[in-house]
């Protein structure tokens, strides 16, 4: 009788059989997430896809005219966008290797039997505890050209008073250094947990085989932390391509657009200049670009993994 009850509860859908109460529970449990996800994650993508072909203005969203591809053709003749793209790219290709090396070297050192291990771990982790907004405000004050700490240290070393965030040649480099300073400790922690999971028997076996420390690193450590490595590099890259808070607080994209980044540009066009149409077109192209980069890197790292 029990058997019959279960069978009656089954229904077929697209050729597959499901348990009725599971369907009910499954849909009920996912319903809130589905509603919110569709409105606030999927709809924005569709909306920006739609607005990219219009001349939408933030203040006149009811009078929208379809303009075809003209927003996209603006992209290729926009000198400021090119600057923003170059700046973002420069940030990414500098900060990712810098932060990656720093965090990996620190993790490797702190993973060995070194004294004061806990002290060093916390010292490198402390900047992570500051939020991006607080980091930006703190460094703004430290780098204040008249009354900041950095200039006062430099002057006590016999240097001249320096310009920092007001100098177009330096502003982006300063943001790079600050970002690496703030983020390295977090990646160090992730690398440390990856290193801790390497079984010590592997090292012992390598030692018996006569491998020196460099070979042990190359043939045991590196292959074993590869998944951690690809995870860190992907999150770091995506984070770097999103650079926004630091220029927003510290420089407002200036001086002379030297810290204008893609995220900031999209925001500026859409919210400040109210040009939702153009902003959506840029955002769309940039999203496709980022998705392509993420997928490529995932592929490359995964391929290496299986070999």
């Amino acid at each position: 009788m029990n058997q019959a009850k279960i069978q009656r509860a089954n229904i077929r859908f697209f050729g597959k059989s499901y348990n009725k109460s599971e369907i009910f529970a499954g849909l009920l449990f996912t319903l809130p997430v589905l509603i919110l996800g569709v409105i606030f994650i999927i709809l924005p993508i569709i909306v920006s896809l739609g607005y990219a072909f219009t001349d939408a203005n933030l203040l006149k969203l009811d009078q929208v005219q379809i303009v075809g591809f003209s927003q996209f053709s603006r992209i290729f003749s926009d000198p400021l966008l090119l600057i923003a793209f170059k700046n973002t790219l420069r940030f990414v290709v500098t900060v990712v290797p810098l932060q990656l090396t720093l965090s990996l070297v620190l993790a490797l050192i702190l993973n060995s039997r070194i004294k004061l291990n806990t002290f060093f771990r916390w010292a490198f982790f402390i900047p992570v505890m500051l939020s991006l907004a607080i980091t930006s405000m703190l460094w703004m004050n430290l780098l204040n050209e008249e009354s900041g700490l950095i200039n006062s240290i430099l002057m006590s070393l016999g240097f001249d008073e320096q310009t920092f965030l007001s100098n177009p040649d330096r502003a982006l480099n300063i943001i790079i250094i600050i970002s690496a300073w703030q983020g390295a400790g977090y990646q160090m922690l992730i690398f440390l947990s990856g290193l801790k999971n390497i079984p010590s028997s592997l090292y012992e076996a390598a030692e018996i085989d006569g491998a020196n420390s460099f070979n042990r690193f190359k043939h045991v450590t590196l292959p074993m932390i590869k998944p951690t490595f690809s995870f860190v590099i992907i999150t770091m890259l995506i984070g770097a391509f999103r650079l926004f808070t630091q220029p927003l607080i510290m420089t407002k994209g200036g001086p002379l657009d030297s810290t204008m980044t893609m995220s900031y540009y999209i925001y500026q066009q859409g919210i400040m200049f109210r040009d939702v149409g153009y902003s959506s077109a840029v955002a769309l192209i940039y999203t496709i670009f980022l998705a392509a980069i993420t997928l490529t890197i995932r592929k490359v790292l995964d391929k290496d993994n299986t070999v």
């Binding site: 993508i45 907004a133 006590s156 993420t294």
Partner: protein, 327 residues
């Protein structure tokens, strides 16, 4: 200061010389002297030197990492005038008030001259707790459903989640703002709803929950079903008590996310009474005349909650990364 720079230069140079020496001692030509007394001593000296250089390097780097934060904390205990007086001496890194009662002047001044500072802290706490409770509830339910139930569309949901995780949606702040505007959520009173609601559904956390629930054995739930418990009751009374680590991780991640959130908040809130801490801090930072003591007090005070979370839950942060990103 100059002493430090000179010692860095000396240590780097001596290390390079010793490195060459070590390579020479390891070379073919020297291998027959391998067990000579002098060679053994030379190796010991070189080894000692490298250990010393490593510690020196670590200390210098650690100092570079912590000096801004130490400066921030120490100067929050001083007044603006004291900070300027100490700035060009080493005393800038120490609290110079002998009387401990005077240490908190800047904090007292901060709370009295910026009336809404306390309010912005409360706002941040309210926003974080609402977000955490709803995030935990709805994302865990969805994660559980796609991990354990077979229903039409469950595989589609998983595919969509993976797609969303690959496609970066960060650039969608402008369309999101437009949608909120069309929904009428940008009025003075509903702004808070409009600010909070997009953060509730998170594919990342659904995935985190799913990964964890997949590891819970089926027998646990089946025992409850035999006792006649409904699915929702089983979830609350059996599953949740057995998966506290993932709930802890998600709440910590959510807390860090909402407490530190700045970009969307500064777009949404112009009324200081509604602003969360991170946005309100900017008002203190940009205030004229500048009071460095008060700025540092506000920055230090705002970091305390998040620092406590990090200190007490570092384990969960690392574990959370481990069971989402690497699986």
């Amino acid at each position: 200061m100059q002493i430090i720079i000179w010692s860095v230069l000396i240590i780097v140079n001596v290390s390079l010389i010793f490195l060459l020496l070590k390579l020479y001692l390891n070379s073919e030509r020297m291998s027959k002297y391998k067990n000579d007394h002098q060679v053994i001593i030379a190796r010991k000296i070189i080894h000692f030197w490298f250990v010393f250089a490593l510690y020196f390097f670590l200390f210098v780097l650690a100092a570079l990492f912590i000096f801004p934060v130490v400066w921030m904390i120490m100067n929050s205990f001083k007044t603006h005038a004291q900070i300027n007086a100490d700035l060009s001496t080493w005393r800038t890194f120490l609290p110079t008030n002998l009387n401990i009662g005077e240490w908190f002047q800047s904090y007292i001044k901060l709370f009295s001259s910026f009336q809404e500072f306390g309010r912005s802290i409360i706002n941040s706490i309210i926003y974080s707790s609402i977000t955490i409770s709803i995030v935990l509830l709805i994302n865990s339910l969805a994660g559980y459903a796609i991990a354990k139930f077979r229903f039409p569309g469950s595989t589609v949901i998983v595919t969509i989640i993976i797609l969303i995780l690959i496609i970066p949606v960060e650039t969608s702040i402008v369309p999101l703002y437009v949608i909120l505007k069309k929904m009428g959520l940008l009025t003075e009173n509903l702004r808070i709803v409009g600010y909070l609601i997009p953060g509730f559904c998170s594919p990342f956390y659904i995935f985190m929950f799913r990964a964890y629930f997949l590891g819970i054995p089926k027998e646990l739930e089946e025992a409850a079903y035999i006792d006649g418990a409904s699915r929702i009751k089983t979830f609350f009374s059996i599953i949740i008590p057995n998966s506290l680590p993932v709930f802890a991780t998600v709440s910590i991640f959510t807390f860090m996310g909402t407490w530190n959130e700045y970009i969307f908040a500064q777009l949404m809130f112009s009324n200081p009474l509604q602003q969360p801490l991170q946005v309100y801090l900017q008002l203190i930072n940009n205030f004229n005349p500048k009071d460095m003591g008060m700025i540092m007090a506000s920055l230090t005070f705002s970091t305390i909650p998040i620092a406590l979370v990090y200190i007490f839950s570092q384990r969960y942060i690392v574990e959370g990364v481990a069971f989402t990103g690497l699986k």
